[in-house]
Symmetry: C2
Subunit: 368 residues, 2 copies
Amino acid sequence: MSTESDSDVKDELARKRLIELASEFYDQFAEGTVPEMEIPTRTKSNIVFDEKKDVWVYGDRTSTRSANSVRGAQKLLKAIYTIEFLAEQLDQDRSSTLRELYYLSESWDEERAQFNDQDESNQLVEDLEIVSEVTREDFHMRPEESGATIMGPLFLREQTRRGERDIHCQEDVGEGGYQIPNNPDTIEFLDHDADFVLCVETGGMRDRLVENGFDEEYNVIVVHLKGQPARATRRITRRLHDELELPVVVFCDGDPWSYRIYASVSYGSIKSAHLSEYLATPAAEYVGIQPVDIVNYDLPTDPLSDSDINALESELDDPRFQSDYWREQIELQLDIGKKAEQQALASRGLDFVTDTYLPERLGEMGVL
Amino acid sequence: MSTESDSDVKDELARKRLIELASEFYDQFAEGTVPEMEIPTRTKSNIVFDEKKDVWVYGDRTSTRSANSVRGAQKLLKAIYTIEFLAEQLDQDRSSTLRELYYLSESWDEERAQFNDQDESNQLVEDLEIVSEVTREDFHMRPEESGATIMGPLFLREQTRRGERDIHCQEDVGEGGYQIPNNPDTIEFLDHDADFVLCVETGGMRDRLVENGFDEEYNVIVVHLKGQPARATRRITRRLHDELELPVVVFCDGDPWSYRIYASVSYGSIKSAHLSEYLATPAAEYVGIQPVDIVNYDLPTDPLSDSDINALESELDDPRFQSDYWREQIELQLDIGKKAEQQALASRGLDFVTDTYLPERLGEMGVL
């Protein structure tokens, strides 16, 4: 059970790691060496598959942030100020957004430590995550709220600043569902009656599944991804899989951007490959819309745009899409030159998705 | 109290209006006249202030949709098919999204009744709203979910397809708050302990207010607008004002796009001026960020872009921004050439917004 003191221990650990990092810089100074910080290069060409953990992680290539130039020294100065702010935030059990951190730097006495733009502060926080091996959530850095929700036979306890809240994600929520908090590690799963987890890209389809009672009929936890899913959404999906031992399937539009949504749930994103083990659900499978569904179900389509074609071709080079399945689907899509949205299933009637398409696909996949 | 039979009566009324509309076409045919449908012109130049209702509504200029051309006849044919679909949907107590309607039209037997694109079906549904005086929500047409939320001392009952849900928007929800359903008229307010309603543009600021306990300290219902607010968000804001007799204030970024967010809450939007009386809260006041705050509080700013300047200049022509207050603020902003985000208040510390800025502004406005 997650208790007050558990979270205190976690905060203290995060704080300790940050301070260790600062003392490394101190030691480097003391030894007379130029302080530096080495981090993995974060590009598509530097992600490798970790067979043991079953996720994509950064490879061996690294970049060095060194104080051997004025620019580099300023970067480390900014890191030190940020570490001080984060350590204080943890000590006081406060939290803040990435945007607030950027603005807050304007209040720092040393002008050269202030951030020039938010990209700079965002990147620094990611660097600190990688080097300290503590997640941003454990630094108490909140993202902008994403609005993603859960609906399904799941009873959970959320640890809020105002005390514990016990919530059943069908019986205690409105039609909008349970709002996933910024840090889903404040959630403990108390009980459930679910057979699998269905992650859904669009709100329109999420509402359709809920209206048609799909979550009740098939004992499904419906997670609304809301487009490219926030870290909180990916994290809770991973936890639903790990802790409740539930299969996870992902239901998106049938276009290259949606395959990337699936990839970020399943394989981890390139930008946060240092967190793949924490955020990705390697066992997550893709339900559709598959290019082959466009053909088999004769769905209404739009032609592929130039940027769609480029994105598909780039996926053929993406290490995450090297399976026979994905090569086949992507090549088929380039061949037919079409894409389809999940809501295009409505062309066969409003119940087609829940009466026919999903039962057929989930049957094929062995989930039902 | 909202009961099963209340909503049945409402559905039956919406259905009746739609069928009346279809029979008007029928009568026009029977009389040997060319069927037509007249609707107000929906542009900035055709909105006028309704002194009685205290909102902006469409003026006298109208456009006619007539069957006197093949194109026009097809438009009316599409209207008839859509009316049939909506009437059936109401009869069966189903609902659907605008996107589903567009795709669904592909299943209609008469090919010429099918929509060419979603703009066409969206516009038709708006036309039907205007002519029938029934809202889209009462046709059971759902928008794509917006993810907007409420946090505050409000106890409500939501009528869901699965029965009633009684939810306190502080005690029964997680940190993410209560998710506003697509049709907030399924909500009944049971009890509250609120002094006013604060609508907030960004998620980062909403989270800041909740973390700092602003809703508890000042008895505030915090409504997260999530950018340009969805109809459901504007509707529930209006109802909180009308039914609970609470002042409503709006807290946004300090840029021309945010003033339009305020305008859509307060005055109604140009696109849905036929619904102003239902969606707009004329008494809603603007807290900030005001251009004068940028000066007074010395906030971190970004320079105005060309499109910002154009938007401000267009607001000087917008009938909704003709008050002395807005002319002054907009002219000041053009003069200083700067804009600031609400989270820029963090440059004065994370508590500045709740300890200083909001209490000062709300005091000046007479809300506190």
